[in-house]
Amino acid sequence: MAKYIAQRIIYMIITLFIIATATFFLMKLLPGSPFNQVAAKLSDAQMEILLDRYGLNDPVPVQYFKYIGGLIQGDLGVSFQYNNRAVTDLIMTRIGPSAYLGAQAMIIGSILGIILGMVASIRHNSWVDYTSNILAVIGISIPSFVFAGLLQYYFAVQWRIFPPSFWEGPEYTVLPTIALMIFPMAICARFMRTEMMEVLGSDYIELARAKGVSNNKIMFKHALRNALIPVITVIGPMTVSLMTGTLVIEQIFAVPGLGEQFVRSINVNDYPMIMGTTLLFSVLFIGVVLIVDLLYGIIDPRIRLTGGKK
């Protein structure tokens, strides 16, 4: 097991290193300097000073080693768009609302999804099942920004139940959270239904029935646990969808989060900020995948004791 974890962590570091390197050189490939927008207003001498200050006059390899060296110490460089502010610093001030929204959407969404999928599988082929299937297809299909637009238009503009935008209290989180949680909910409901159906049709459930175990106990003691274990695997795709979602939803609801900041950085070519956020997303994603794999091993006894699943 320890060997397996070590191997996975090495892979993780290699992947991150590749991403950092690729990002760096991709950014260097871009024509012009990041100061193109202000270039017209600056004299050549001023421009030189600027480039010097950001170390952009060094040869590319030197810049590269400086960058990687900084990375190891947790230094992601300095943002171009905000005067001299460290990227790490900017990320830290922005990550709060995003993390809050993401966690809230993930937790509520997956719990609702699991319940929905479970009810659908128990009442298989009933109206509950059909409704939950339709909800799941809609949730997976309709883009989050369309959904967010709908929510904002009706709940905020038309009916004025919730505030349409900004970030000033719990009621401000309601609409973005709903917009963000639809996908996790749909994917959980679907997965849970399939897993539950499979488990309920299995021999060991029939054996439990043959023992005279009551239906409730069969559901909660035997079926639920076995069906829930594989559901953990959707946490990976769920994280990706949340990261994608924050980019658009924070923009729509004017949430001062990392996603909104990232979109802004893309639009003004703030390369250090883009690279920093990109790396952070990668670390998050890889970390979540690793944690899910380890968690799976802990929860499923078949894997725990045979040590490491390939």
Binding site: Y204, L207, K211, G212, V213, R225, R302, T306
Partner: protein, 353 residues
Amino acid sequence: MENILEVKDLHVTFDTYGGKVQAVRGVNFNLKKGETLAIVGESGSGKSVTTKALMGLIPKPAGKIPKGEIIFEGKDLAKLNDKHMQQIRGRDISMIFQDPMTSLNPTMKVGGQIMEGLIKHQKMNKAKAKDRAIELLDLVGIPNPKERINQYPHQFSGGMRQRVVIAIALACNPKILLADEPTTALDVTIQAQILELMKDIQKKTETSIVFITHDLGVVANVADRVAVMYAGKIVEIGTVDDIFYNPKHPYTWGLLGSMPTVDSKEDELIAIPGTPPDLMKPPKGDAFAARNPYAMKIDTEMEPPLFKVSDTHYAATWLLHEDAPQVEPPAAVKRRMKGFATADASDEKGEES
């Protein structure tokens, strides 16, 4: 001996997308106290469905028992609701499943799976149930039961798992044990061990066993009586001797003819031609007629009743009617019948010495 279970005119149907499948079409039999009744037949003949009906495990709402009675201790199990069936399942009637690799819950410790029934039916507390579970594991021949009880199913081999399944079935000293092909999924050597174990346990506990199988070799080994099922009906029922030495139904002849025996000299096996009928539209008359080389005109017109051969032996074939031509079983089956006789004799000698 008194009957512990009486099955009368049992019918089971399943609603499927294609239509209604008549899986069991009027099955009658009695189970006596302490005996082993084997039910044999091809897959799809309704033998497993019959046992599921006895357990009240016909999947609803697709499956139904439209007609028939299952009388156990004065109650008709076919009409009991699920709550009452839960009281009987596992306590009075329990079941051993076919595939030990899939019939244990992979995320629950073996001990917990055995204890569940004890806690439910015998109102034992956890500690007591645990002691009993250890006892049971010991009874079914699992070494180090005290440690094994805290392990998960995947830590057991197939044969060991089947022993656990048997321990679960035996937990509450059931009056009836339904064994649905309990050895089919196991290696031959393990098969013999499990069969010995079951015989042994039956001697100790005097449980009645219904043994489902398609393996006639196993039948000869364990059963007192045999019921042969075809297309949802019992076509011949009798003692082991009746069925093996004096079979009357051409389907039974076919089964015996298609069974390989270790010591038979000739290597010819007789296959039964054709396939079983579609039970969505059961044919008129005798369901076996289409595959029966001795078919008569009446077989296509009318279902044969159960003709009495002796007090213990009945068969549903028009060949037993007084107007029917006298036919002999195929020569190969006859030779085989003799073969069984000698094999059995040597078997018994072996046991005595």
